[in-house]
């Protein structure tokens, strides 16, 4: 497999050096994006998002939980990701891989640090808070799972209903309005090969690229970031990509 990736890198470098991409997209173009919110009825919130041939479903569930010891007045937000074995021949059954954990944590950081969810409003009583679970279910893998997952997660949160609470427990199937959200967080992921940078790497591009940078933004701020891969970025690269993320973020937010 490694030799195939080496060949892919050579082809990618040559194509990118000519200012083109292997699927003839522009450097900073997304593939076709489709977002479907509110697709499940049992979950409190849900959505599907696809970018090109990548498909991700997100389900949102509420439970009652104990707060964390260091934050006794705040609710719990928990994000996890499953790279389902039906999504790709590259995924195997078993405990979450490091890629799955990184994916969940990057999406989590965007949602958490944007303060879009007011976790203090999840406080019910002493030792009792609401817990919100965001489950990322990867159904098809053709690269850029981070942007696809964060788009699905944001759409699922926007479709989420607050559970009805009675005598300190959740009444399933009954709701008390929508989940209030302050911000719409989106992420933009850029690949880099040699000195060339490009938005929304496909799986083939991911296999050949040196590194990637994910920037999560609200309409006003950068709220989370993650670099992956062995390559490097200059400070100028990062500020330049943030400017592009801010512009592209508007397009993504319009789809939510």
């Amino acid at each position: 497999m490694e030799s195939i990736n080496e060949i892919k890198r050579d082809v990618l470098s040559a194509v990118l050096a000519a200012g083109k991409r292997i699927d003839s997209r522009g450097m900073y173009d997304y593939r076709k994006i489709v977002v479907q919110p509110g697709i499940l009825q049992n979950a409190e919130g849900s959505a599907m998002a696809s970018i090109g041939k990548s498909q991700v479903m997100v389900g949102v569930k509420f439970d009652i939980a104990k707060p964390f010891l260091d934050r006794p007045k705040e609710g719990v937000l928990s994000t996890s990701a499953d790279l389902l074995p039906l999504a790709s021949h590259l995924f195997e059954t078993g405990p979450p891989s490091e890629d799955a954990i990184e994916l969940a944590r990057v999406v989590d950081r965007g949602i958490r640090s944007s303060n879009t969810i007011d976790l203090e409003s999840f406080y019910l009583e002493e030792e009792k808070v609401l817990a919100l679970y965001v489950d990322i279910y990867v159904l098809d893998h053709d690269g850029n799972l981070i942007d696809c997952s964060s788009l699905a997660a944001m759409s699922a949160l926007l479709s989420s209903r607050m559970p009805k609470i009675e005598n300190g427990s959740i009444v399933r199937g009954e709701y008390s309005g929508k989940l209030p959200l302050k911000e719409h967080v989106v992420t933009c992921t850029f690949g880099k090969i040699g000195e060339r940078m490009f938005l929304d790497p496909s799986l083939d591009e991911e296999k050949g690229m040196d590194c990637r940078l994910t920037l999560a933004t609200t309409s006003t701020h950068l709220c989370a970031a993650q670099k992956g891969g062995w390559g490097t970025y200059s400070e100028r690269d990062i500020t330049e990509l943030l400017d592009i993320s801010t512009e592209k973020g508007k397009e993504l937010r319009a789809m939510l």
Binding site: L86, A87, I170
Partner: protein
């Protein structure tokens, strides 16, 4: 969570048993031999060799198939046939009740095993020695009868993958509600019925490939149940065949899952 003594989930608050059959109608208005609505869409995934999505009542289930491919680990492989593997899994957000745990439960391990065994006699596995065929089933939303819907969707996914089979199989459960045998129990009938019996048939030969049962049934009720399930599985087979044919009648430019 409230469980019955089998460890199966019960209604949200362990509420009282409703009247399940009254004046010729079941809780959701169906007659005894009526199936819930079933829709199947084949070829919805890109990387899997075959795939199918089924909506059966409120169940929403996705099946993906890979293979025949190199059997890993090698000590699993057979010199005589392809090894069939199956993973049935429920999404943590699939139920109405609390958030599920990740990782396979005892229940999902058992269901993976019986689903795999149902397919072992219909897949012509001796054509592909030293390989494996993997069936992955993800329950995205559950509403009672997920294993039967899983078998039905997996059969379409296997056909989509071009895996040779002796027959296109399907499964359906029968139940006993307020003393009457009925086909395709919904969640309430599953929780509060007197008996539940999922069956998978090979429609061409009439043979039974998956058979489970709990509750109490007389010999007559057993025969009535099997014959009800047999009639229902013929209706399901038509829906499966339509889903497989549709992929060729109306070829898709791009594959993706559309959920209504």
């Amino acid at each position: 969570m409230i469980c019955n003594s089998n460890g199966d989930k019960m209604g949200a608050t362990g509420k009282e048993k409703p009247k399940l059959y009254e004046s010729g109608r079941r809780v959701d208005g169906r007659g005894l031999a009526d199936l819930r609505g079933i829709k199947i869409e084949s070829r919805v995934l890109n990387d899997a060799d075959g795939s199918a999505y089924i909506e059966w009542g409120k169940n929403k289930i996705l099946a993906g198939v890979y293979g025949p491919s190199e059997c890993i680990p090698r000590h699993d492989q057979s010199l005589y046939r392809s090894v069939i593997k199956c993973r049935y899994n429920m999404a943590p957000f699939s139920g109405m009740e609390e958030h599920g745990r990740s990782g396979p439960s005892r229940r999902s391990k058992e269901l993976s095993k019986v689903i795999k065994e149902a397919f072992e006699s219909v897949i012509i596995s001796e054509n592909f020695p030293k390989t494996q065929i993997e069936i992955f089933v993800e329950v995205l939303q559950s509403d009672g009868g997920t294993r039967c819907a899983a078998v039905t969707a997996a059969a379409v996914a296997l056909a989509d993958a071009g895996i040779p089979m002796k027959d296109l199989i399907s499964a359906v459960a029968v139940c006993k509600i307020d003393g009457h045998m009925a086909v395709d129990p919904g969640k309430e009938e599953d929780n509060f019925g007197e008996s539940d019996m999922p069956i998978a048939f090979s429609p061409r030969t009439g043979e039974i490939l998956l058979f489970q049962m709990d509750g109490l049934l007389s010999r007559e009720e057993l025969s009535e149940g099997i014959s009800l399930a047999r009639q229902a599985s013929e209706k399901i087979r038509k829906i499966q065949v339509e889903a497989i044919a549709k992929v060729y009648q109306e070829p898709k430019e791009e594959r993706f899952l559309v959920i209504k």
